[in-house]
Amino acid sequence: MKGQQDHQGYVPVSRTAAPTHRRGVAGGRLRRVSGIALYTLLSFYAFCNLYPLFWMVSNSFKNNQEIFVRNVFGLPRIWRFENYIKAWQSFNIFLYFKNSMIVATATVVITLMLSIMFAYATARMSWKLSSIARIYMSIGMFVPVQVIFIPLVLLIRDFHLSNSYLALIVPYVAFQLSFCSIVFYGFFRTLPPELEEAAAIDGANVYVTFYRIILPLVKPAIATLAIFVFLFSWNEFAIALIMISNNSLKTLPLGLLLFQGQFATDWGAMGASLALASIPTIVVYLLFGNEVEKALTVGSAVKG
């Protein structure tokens, strides 16, 4: 309440713990106690969420015995850098990175473009079939990919896309359209209808309105979904396994197969490769996450 004037607001909690006009000194103490409890809770959960990162990196320096029996949760006692050397040698990491990057970037751009347009039409234009179209589009959310492998491979072959990046990009985009359209729809529905009316009075046509007025307002959603779609295509395995047979087109998750034999798996080297493969996802998250934050502050300022 005290922070009201401070619109950019990260006010440290100590300053705002001052008593308000309604609550007395006792209330302040209570708040301080509950504040500590709150921070403990938040920090504990944050720790649980950050731990896998630590675990992944420390596993990447261990061998199978340490990973499974001797030292499951702690720091490695012997740092086995050879895991990284193995990962580097048996794993054409640049190629896999390049392929994953191309596929993921293309998927993000195309998916966002198509779904944002679709969601705009269903959320903000009135036409008879709009709600049916929306539910139709959500079917993609619940198709288990395993059953459509065969028709999908045939389709890709008949369109002569086999053994090209498009063999992955096209299905990825199609499958992510559902999720993105649903989320964008939700965001569009919360914008006031007067936006378009005002634009129409100014003489702007629907495309200009969409581009100039609506798009900037859903930037947080765009940035958020960019992260999700990127993560999906970066980590996707099932479709990639079936679609790609050409070694030069393989993405990172396929590369990891190189550590899994018929019986045994080299978990240390795989951990090293996984750790390396996670770097771009974290970078992308931090980058776009920052955009989300900025966009959110601007967005609420416009509307507030």
Binding site: S115, I139, R189, L191, P192, L274, S278
Partner: protein, 294 residues
Amino acid sequence: MLHNKLNDRIAIAVFTLPAVVLFTTVVVYPVLKTVYTSLLDWDGLSQPSFMMFGNYMRLFGDPDFHLAVKNGLIFAAVLVIYQIGLGSVFALILSNRRIAGKRFFRTAYFVPVVLSITVVCQLWLSIFNADRGLLNNLFHALGLTYRQSWLSSGKTAIVSVAFVNAWQYLGIHFSLIYAAIKSIPDHYYEAALIDGASSFTAHCKITIPLLAETYRFCLIIAITGGLKAFENMYIMTGGGPGNLTYTLTYLIYKAAFRMNQYGYACASASVLLLQCLVFTVLINRLIAHERVTY
């Protein structure tokens, strides 16, 4: 007027057709083929023969199917409760301006989403491990005799697996709800707070109703995600022990690739599709449809 309507139609076509055409060819067409295949007696490779509803009759009599449906529903329930419940709590707390270190918490809560599912599942396998796992050791250290074989007992297995998925992807729901809260203009609560409402009541009365649209898609995502869950089982339990952690997707996988009963797999897939569709329509009906704007 007429001209305007035509313009609108063209605009609608321009906006929707690219997505609809792509989606129809790549997703819906194979799905229709799947539904058709569910009427065949087919191993996926040899000459198929038509058998009408034979696969469905068998499916409804299959105890694995009943268990799979039940597990799918439990899985979905765990996701809804954990991800939407806890996601909302964290989003509400962190949307409060007075909280310091928001940026850190928000980033931390999203980290598991960024990681590969293999890493997360392997970690939880170690934590759940009945003999050397962190969880049982924790109970032991606290002097409790509550040791469990989390992933192998009929009572806890599916919930434990679902929990791992819920935990990993909490960040998605958290960030969607958080973004929605942040786009509610501040003067809404300020008015309420000035009226003397506690922030808890302010949230219950103002924020949450305004999030109806967000909750609609979060629910759809969580429920359909739960019903078609596969990878967690694949990595952690292999559907086992026995059939204890089968879900419909797992049944599909088993029928198609382990038993070479492609038609049967497609029948379970069709049931799964129908189930998800029913839930989506229900959610759309149940959550108020009037437009919420600020």
